[in-house]
């Protein structure tokens, strides 16, 4: 603060002093910088932060009118594929990020379907993940016990046919299987 603004008892408030005070008050006004939103009211200024940046987390689904893309994500270190191309694209083979066809969407009677990662386990090698593929399905269960589907996003078909999606998975994944004679349970959790 300008030290010359501090007055002593009995000191006259001159025009110069007053104008300095006005300038000091004006300099205290709040101005919006990048990513800052201000709402100025007679009783004060409300400051909001609008620097929201989208979080490009693993397995993030982005919907287009006919297809969806899935951000790169790993399951036990393996990158799933769409039509044989890794979901993040393959720069070495000059393949762009692949698109998953979602039209017409496969949904159940309740209008719910999923974009899921379908893994295939190697039953000869301790049920480790052998391959992973992104699929659009109306059902998460699979009859082949060496396979399992883990939901990435839910698709909801509305009454008017409109399609909305809800992200379910936000992290890279690990997988283990609990194998019994007739069946296997597949467990997924964040890596």
């Amino acid at each position: 603060m300008d030290a010359t603004l501090i007055v002593r008892t009995g000191q006259r408030i001159t025009a110069i002093l007053w104008n300095k005070l006005v300038a000091a008050v004006r300099s205290c006004r709040v101005l919006a910088g990048e990513g800052i939103r201000l709402r100025i009211t007679p009783n004060g200024t409300i400051v909001s932060c609008s620097t929201w940046k989208p979080w490009n987390h693993p397995f993030k689904v982005s919907m287009g009118p006919e297809s969806a893309t899935v951000e790169r994500g790993l399951i036990d270190g393996i990158e799933p594929t769409i039509d044989g191309v890794p979901i993040g694209g393959d720069a070495d083979k000059n393949k762009p990020q692949p698109k998953l066809k979602i039209k017409p969407p496969k949904t159940g009677k309740d209008g719910r379907g999923w974009i899921a990662v379908e893994i295939t386990c190697d039953t000869e090698k301790q049920w480790a993940v052998k391959s992973a593929e992104i699929v659009q399905v109306a059902e998460l269960l699979v009859s082949d016990k060496a396979k399992a589907r883990h939901p990435i996003a839910m698709l909801r078909r509305g009454k008017t046919g409109d399609l909305s999606h809800f992200q379910i998975e936000f992290f890279n994944l690990q997988h283990r299987a609990d194998v019994q004679d007739a069946s296997a349970r597949h467990f997924f959790w964040p890596a």
Binding site: R12, I13, T14, A15, W18, L21, V22, V25, R26, C28, R29, V30, G35, I36, R37, R39, I40, T41, P42, N43, G44, T45, I46, V47, S48, C49, S50, T51, W52, K53, W55, R112, W114, A116, L140, H150, P151, M154, R156, G158, S164, F166, I168, E169, F170, F171, L173, D178, Q180, S183, R185, F187, F188, W189, P190
Partner: protein, 335 residues
């Protein structure tokens, strides 16, 4: 120089307009030396299960952002009586819960202490609310820690818990002690499934609200062996606690009931989508009964059970594993 009142007031107006208060994603702390602004963009992140409370229709309604268990959206039971229906969190209808409050400021009840009955201390609340001037909870141990004088702490606080449940298969053991023979006694333990609750409801995963959620009590080995075990028919997890704070000196004082003038604060316990599975696969039929032949002839049931469950007993491991194999309690975990 003459300063006119209008000029003076103009400068005051400019000063007042410049006083900063917090909006979305911003924190403002006023100090005598200036105002500290902090920004946290992550506060805008609408994570799964995030709760929002609104005063609507003369009640506090709790809206839950869509959360998933095993890929399925949880539901909220809407309506009353015969018109109840389970509405998914992804439905456009936007289902909601109605808050059911508890008072964390009052004693939790009475307990015996020697020959005396004593009032238990209150549950209390997070320290954050002290700074807002919430009245000290019963037993007042927190009062001395506050920098606010007690006379300035006149706000009331209430709370309500939001939890998630899924039906599960419960089991009951039936223990038969056969007539003793000359040198041994036969005991058989059979297990029956109880899926009556799971069969009576249409939901898989349901969000509900209770004044105070308590984790479920699983029966002990002794109870299982004695056939008195009552297993819960649901697996549950707490999703969040909603705290609500009154204005200073609310009408009704200690008995004040939250209305639209109160302010709600959410304390989340779950931030991500979940998976759930029983600890072991549920077989299509209950496990076969186990039969034990003991040398404990002529014992009464209680003493036989106590002897069987003694760690040194040769049947101990067999009984433990047999009884453990008959519980299908599940676990939730983050995915």
């Amino acid at each position: 120089m003459i300063i006119r009142a209008s000029t003076w007031n103009e400068i005051l107006k400019t000063l007042r307009m410049g006083r900063v208060s917090s909006g979305i994603g911003a924190d403002v702390t006023h100090t005598p030396a200036g105002t500290i602004l902090s920004f946290d963009p992550s506060r805008n992140f609408e994570h799964p299960w995030r709760i929002h409370a609104k005063w609507q229709g003369d009640e506090w309604r709790i809206f839950v952002r869509a959360g998933f268990v095993n890929g399925h959206d949880a539901t909220i039971t809407m309506g009353t009586g015969a018109e109840t229906r389970d509405v998914g969190l992804t439905e456009p209808e936007r289902p909601y819960l109605v808050a059911r409050w508890r008072n964390p400021l009052v004693s939790l009840g009475m307990a015996a202490s020697g020959l005396d009955l004593v009032e238990l201390p209150a549950e209390g609340y997070p320290k954050f609310f002290e700074l807002m001037g919430v009245r000290p909870a019963f037993a007042g141990s927190r009062a001395s820690e506050s920098f606010l004088p007690l006379e300035e702490r006149t706000r009331e606080i209430r709370a309500c818990d939001i939890a998630l449940m899924t039906p599960r298969v419960a089991t009951n053991q039936e223990v038969t002690i056969h007539d003793p023979l000359t040198d041994f006694q036969t005991i058989s333990i059979s297990t029956a499934f109880n899926a009556s609750y799971a069969q009576s409801v249409s939901f898989k995963y349901r969000i509900f609200t209770v004044p105070k959620w308590e984790s479920q009590r699983e029966p002990t080995m002794n109870e299982r062996l004695a056939g008195t075990a009552i297993e819960p028919q649901t697996d549950e997890i707490k999703v969040a606690t909603l705290w609500i704070v009154s204005p200073p000196n609310p009408e009704g004082g200690e008995l004040a009931v939250p209305d639209g003038s109160w302010v709600a604060y959410a304390q989340q316990d779950v931030f991500w989508n979940l998976a759930h599975a029983p600890r072991r696969q549920v077989p299509p039929v209950p496990p076969k009964p186990i039969t034990l032949r003991t040398g404990l002839v002529f014992g009464i049931a209680d003493s036989i059970f106590a002897a069987l469950l003694a760690p040194g007993n040769s049947f101990y491991n067999q009984i433990q594993s047999a009884l453990n194999a008959t519980t299908f309690r599940g676990e939730f975990w983050t995915v």
